[in-house]
């Protein structure tokens, strides 16, 4: 396997292809600043839950260096993992139904109470019709994650994947490490567990 780009996104900063991007904000505001400065044409971003905001901005930055940017295709998968599922949004939703006096369950919040909504957001944005999956692990486990990626590449249709870890505990607590991985490709970097961990530790 090879990869063409990587992105690390944490509340303190964004590192795209091993270069730190200059932003003034941190936490949730960092994602909004990155959206406004680098993306800006998908207002649904503001309706997303914290997990989807983190994953969406990360995937957009990851794809920003792809030339030409792949769009409307069946051969790209989205394979994501984390530890907390949709817990950040689950908590927000719980807040809308906590008391009998203020019992107003929000449909817009409820729709994000599944982590795989994020894979759908990315697929819709890019018109990807390939495989998507979001698995919840007990902890960050690159061996298991890469095994899942290899399994996805057993499908002869799948040629590349947005792959990685999108953890989110709350609006200001997220940890993302994504790669654009290709089954094969000349001139691209090798992708394996060692490389995954090297970028993860940036």
């Amino acid at each position: 396997m090879k990869y063409s780009s990587s992105v690390r996104v944490t509340p303190s900063g964004i590192v795209l292809n091993e270069k730190r991007l200059a932003f003034a904000s941190s936490g949730e505001d960092l994602l909004v600043e990155a959206y406004r400065k680098q993306i800006g044409d998908w207002p649904k971003f503001f309706k997303m839950d914290p997990l989807s905001k983190a994953g969406f901005v990360s995937s957009e930055l990851l794809l920003s260096s792809e030339e030409p940017r792949k769009h409307d295709c069946e051969d790209r998968a989205v394979i994501l993992y984390n530890r907390s599922g949709s817990l950040a949004d689950d908590r927000i939703y719980e807040g809308t139904i906590r008391s009998k006096e203020e019992f107003y369950p929000s449909p817009a919040v409820f729709v994000y109470t599944l982590p795989n909504i994020l894979t759908g957001e990315i697929a819709i944005r890019n018109k990807y019709y390939g495989e998507t999956s979001f698995s919840v692990l007990e902890e960050f486990d690159p061996t298991t994650m890469i095994h899942g990626l290899e399994s996805a590449f057993l499908d002869p249709m799948t040629a590349s994947a947005i792959f990685g870890w999108v953890e989110c505990g709350s609006e200001d607590d997220f940890d993302v490490c994504l790669f654009l991985v290709h089954k094969e490709g000349e001139g691209l970097k090798d992708f394996d567990e060692k490389e995954f961990l090297r970028i993860w530790k940036i």
């Binding site: 207002p43 503001f46 309706k47 107003y104 369950p105 929000s106 449909p107 817009a108 729709v111």
Partner: protein, 85 residues
């Protein structure tokens, strides 16, 4: 009625998280769905919740929303006629 329209616009912007839009950007006659603000089916459910939460109005029949949520004018008139708080 003008104050109610402005209030409804503010609540719609807040409830639907319409970033970078102010009440003055929303035309009273502009369709809320389709063109206009480009709202979707989830937004329609949020608007129903907005009426219940802020004005004590519960739409018994969701299909009724089609008539109520045509634009800000129809929303304001419905709120004025049916509000319980």
């Amino acid at each position: 009625m003008e104050d109610l329209k402005t209030e409804i616009k503010e609540k719609v912007i807040e409830a639907l998280k319409l970033a970078d839009i102010t009440p003055s950007d929303i035309d009273d006659e502009a369709p809320l769905f389709g063109e206009g603000l480009g709202l979707d089916s989830i937004d329609a459910l949020e608007l129903m919740l907005l009426l219940e939460k802020n004005y004590g109005i519960r739409l018994a029949n969701p299909a009724e929303g089609k008539k109520v949520f045509v634009n800000v004018n129809t929303m304001a008139q419905y709120v004025a006629d049916n509000r319980t708080r």
